[in-house]
């Protein structure tokens, strides 16, 4: 029971990878990639958790009360916003592929020639 969060993060990562590998629609592939990215946030935040501790915000409590790890939260919060912009860039590439080849099926798109 003590490794359940880490196993869930691994499960989500594998589910996202399986979705990317067997996808038949480019936009479905991009959303599965987003799920795989979210598994890393869960792993990071679960690593830094302390049972019975509060958030690392000391506006109303004196510094010294037990708090969880702030460094992994700092890593995760910039990561969430930046990965959304990356997903938007991938969506633009998918739209461009559709305009170029007429299909969104990754298994029907031929590689570029010459």
């Amino acid at each position: 029971m003590n490794v359940l969060p880490y196993v869930i993060a691994v499960w989500l990562f594998l589910a996202g990878l399986y979705g990317v590998a067997t996808s038949r629609n480019l936009i479905h592939l991009i959303v599965c990639l987003s799920v795989a990215q979210s598994s890393t946030y869960i792993l990071l935040i679960a690593i830094g958790y302390r049972q019975g501790a509060g958030p690392p915000i000391f506006t109303y409590v004196p510094p010294g009360t037990p708090a969880v790890d702030p460094v992994v939260q700092a890593l995760a919060l910039t990561d969430v916003v930046v990965s959304a912009a990356m997903t938007a860039l991938l969506l633009a590439v998918a739209v461009r592929i559709y305009k170029q080849t007429g299909t969104l099926d990754p298994q029907k798109i031929r590689p570029l020639r010459s």
């Binding site: 490794v3 969060p5 708090a67 790890d69 916003v81 930046v82 912009a85 860039l89 461009r96």
Partner: protein, 245 residues
């Protein structure tokens, strides 16, 4: 390769990878028993050293400010790449195609009721980033969504006026450049790049934190302008006349 064989191979390889990952993850410390010393040191020292009370924000913009600089420029480059991808296809035509979206009255009423509160809330989250949960990234995104809310309420003429490309691009570049300039300004006074040398103010007031407050503002401006540009490019791309589809 048929679909069935691809599925079987994907299942097999993800199962093998899963076994390796679970074997690695079992050796981590128990959930809820984080032993690390770095976080204890930061939680105990950051409030007294910098007079900020939002420790992840202090970590982002002061103790590990260089990493956040890299992340912010990743955002900048992603939006620039998206703009290049869309504009190169569109060419230089200045036709204003009509929007194909019909917005219902209920959405207009609710949007008009919510927009004042959302703008104030976004600005509060950005400004109080070093005191309460929030910061430039979250608040900037909320401010970008208010511009999108104006698109839903008033249609695309109002949205076009608010998101003029030259203005939004200049704002985004100013936000990203201000981050670097603050760091370089610290270099000119003899400190390290992005070291916090400004007066750190009073505890739990808005003028605390020194450079944390300024970098927070710059990030808020940059993120909101970047996402407004992103939404504007997407919405303009979706407004082609139906004969071209």
């Amino acid at each position: 390769m048929t679909i069935r064989s691809r599925q079987i191979m994907a299942l097999g390889s993800t199962a093998a990878l899963g076994l390796l990952l679970v074997w690695g993850v079992i050796r981590l410390p128990d959930f809820g028993a984080y032993p690390g010393p770095y976080s204890d040191v930061l939680n105990a020292a950051a409030v007294a050293e910098r007079h900020v009370t939002n420790i992840p924000s202090a970590v982002n913009f002061d103790y590990r400010a260089f990493d956040t600089l890299g992340e912010e420029f990743m955002l900048f480059v992603a939006v620039a790449g998206l703009a290049v991808l869309f504009r190169e296809q569109r060419g230089r035509s200045n036709r204003k195609n009509p929007s194909v979206v019909q917005v219902s009255e209920a959405v207009r009423w609710m949007g008009s009721g919510l927009i004042g509160f959302t703008v104030l809330f976004g600005m509060m989250i950005v400004l109080h980033g070093s005191l309460t949960p929030g910061g430039g990234f979250q608040g900037g995104l909320i401010l970008a969504m208010t511009v999108l809310l104006i698109y839903l309420i008033r249609g695309d003429e109002a949205f076009e006026r608010l998101s003029r490309r030259a203005f939004v691009e200049a704002l985004e570049a100013a936000g990203a450049g201000a981050y670097v300039l603050i760091g370089l300004a610290m270099l000119t006074t003899g400190g390290m790049f992005l070291e916090n040398l400004l007066p750190i103010g009073r505890l739990r007031e808005l003028d605390s934190g020194g450079t944390i407050f300024l970098i927070n503002l710059a990030t808020g401006v940059e993120v909101s302008a970047a996402f407004v540009l992103l939404f504007a490019e997407f919405l303009e791309e979706s407004r082609k006349p139906s004969s071209e589809r």
